[in-house]
């Protein structure tokens, strides 16, 4: 019993201290971002643009592929149930609303946490091991300002964009399978989709993806910065970054959905 209580206390302490460290890192990044509006050279532009290209443009293909597949699968699975009610023509509305509200932000965030989060943690972790971060400090350059802030900002700008792409590609995937495989009339499919979709579905989805982007970037950079030792520490940090990011994304998604659609007035 004593041991159990001790372990529980330890885990709670571990989680809370992790949250506190993330909060500190996040507030430092917010501070630098705000001051970059008034001062030049707070956030290094080359790093920011390099990261934006890496996250945005280089991830478009894979994110689209996953988005299209999810849209297609969703249409096929939905049709199976809807058919029993004779409501096959509502497949389009279901796919569009589900993509915009939930699956677009979630799928984009999960793919990016695997692709970009892991990369950030490994890159910063290796920089820690090879004394590159120490080199920055001795040059009088704050590593949070130089390494973390541009990465968080780049992801916060690019993940909502990728989410829009996933939304659209997923809807097109659903439409393609709906009109060919399921035999729904194309104009009916589109009309039903537009009828079902409202603006709130889209902007709440984008808001969620913005929150996810901050989570992924902060968790990954934090994991990278806490590396000490050698190659195995980098490996551990990389795995941790992806696992923690995905768990946090899903938990926060749960909370955000509950708050946005049920707690707030519609």
């Amino acid at each position: 019993m004593k041991e159990f209580a001790g372990k529980t206390g330890q885990s709670i302490f571990f989680i809370l201290s992790g949250v506190a460290r993330l909060w500190n890192l996040g507030s430092a990044v917010v501070g630098y971002t705000l001051s970059s509006f008034f001062k030049r050279k707070v956030i290094p532009r080359e790093v920011l643009f390099r990261q934006m290209v890496l996250i945005g443009i280089d991830s478009t293909a894979i994110v689209s592929l996953v988005g299209a597949s999810v849209g297609t699968v969703l249409a096929l699975q939905a049709a199976y149930s809807l058919k029993t009610f004779g409501a096959l023509m509502y497949t389009g509305s279901l796919v569009c609303v589900a993509m915009a509200r939930e699956l677009g932000p979630l799928i984009a965030a999960i793919v990016i946490s695997g692709r970009i989060g892991a990369r950030m943690a490994a890159e910063i972790g290796t920089m820690m091991v090879q004394e590159e971060v120490d080199a920055l400090i001795t040059m009088g350059i704050n590593p949070i300002r130089y390494l973390v802030a541009p990465r968080v900002l780049a992801l916060a700008l690019m993940l909502p964009c990728l989410t829009v792409i996933v939304d659209i590609v997923g809807m097109i995937g659903g439409w393609a399978i709906g009109t060919t495989g399921l035999g729904i009339n194309s104009s009916l499919y589109i009309a039903k989709s537009i009828e079902a979709l409202c603006l709130k579905d889209i902007y709440t989805g984008l808001l969620k993806s913005f929150i996810f982007s901050i989570l992924i970037a902060l968790v990954s950079c934090h994991q990278g910065l806490s590396v000490s030792g050698g190659a195995d520490a980098v490996g551990k940090a990389t795995t941790q970054a992806v696992v923690i990011s995905i768990v946090l994304i899903i938990v926060v998604d749960c909370l955000a959905t509950a708050v946005i659609y049920y707690a707030l007035p519609t």
Binding site: A135, T138, G140, I141
Partner: protein, 268 residues
């Protein structure tokens, strides 16, 4: 604060403990201006830890470190960054940024700390690379050049902002004897031509005797001896003699049990 003081760095009673382990145990040294000081000692004697205190990557448990007469212990990040403008540091593994070219690496401190135009920065980068003998290597990536060249690029980056003091952590480590002696020559050249104070951490005797104006021997977290190269060579201390001649048997025994090793560490 004055620039004319003979000592640029003065360390007073520096103590560093990691938990129960005392790594630095009351170090008092003075580093003279414009000269090359070599900090020597066996592996694990605390010399790298000592160096990291001088550039405030570690904070001491107690003691003072005076740079140009001002204590740098406990300074805020902003105040420390002002002091760091006087410093350049060459890390053991070069610590070049792998995602940037050689030229971009040297340009990082210039871009961050000055308002110079990109054209001027390009010229300064070329000049600094020329000083270390790497003209025309601006567009190479760090993984395309050899270990010795990386060290030289790192040195060019360290002197980009014309620091007054340059710290070298094991500059010859992992290099062949010829390349290592080239690095030594660079250290000598830079210190004489640019009147830079150099602090070199090394355990390579040959290189230390070649470049040092002053040698500080550390042992078990304490200063064992301070002197010129000749004074150290003729030292009566049996540890110093064992160290200079690189003998495996002597005051430091070849075979050690883990208990004896721990006891040795903790007894300091």
């Amino acid at each position: 604060m004055s620039e004319s003081e003979p000592c640029v760095i003065e360390v007073r009673n520096l103590i560093k403990r990691f938990g129960d382990l005392t790594v630095l145990n009351g170090i008092n040294v003075e580093i003279p201006r414009g000269q090359i000081t070599v900090i020597m000692g066996g592996s694990g004697c605390g010399k790298t830890t000592f160096l990291r205190h001088l550039i405030a990557l570690h904070q001491p448990t107690s003691g003072e470190i005076l740079v140009d007469g001002a204590n740098i212990v406990g300074l805020s990040e902003k105040e420390m960054n002002n002091v760091r403008r006087k410093f350049g540091m060459l890390f053991q593994g070069s610590a070049l940024f792998n995602s940037m070219t050689v030229g971009e690496n040297v340009a990082v401190p210039l871009k961050e700390h000055t308002d110079l135009s990109p054209e001027i920065i390009r010229i300064i980068v070329r000049v600094k690379l020329e000083l270390v003998g790497l003209t025309g290597f601006e567009d190479f990536m760090p993984h395309q050049i050899s270990g010795g060249m990386k060290k030289r690029v790192a040195l060019a980056r360290a002197i980009a902002l014309d620091p007054k003091i340059v710290f070298y952590d094991e500059p010859g480590a992992g290099l062949d004897p010829i390349t290592a002696s080239m690095i030594d020559r660079l250290i000598l050249d830079l210190s004489k031509k640019l009147n830079i104070t150099s602090v070199v951490v090394s355990h390579e005797m040959k290189s230390a005797f070649r470049i040092a104006d002053q040698i500080i021997v550390l042992h078990k977290g304490k200063v064992l001896q301070v002197g010129t190269a000749d004074e150290i060579k003729n030292s009566k201390d049996s540890y110093v003699q064992q160290f200079i001649h690189g003998e495996s048997e002597g005051v430091i025994p070849f075979k050690q049990t883990s208990e004896a090793y721990l006891k040795g560490l903790l007894s300091t």
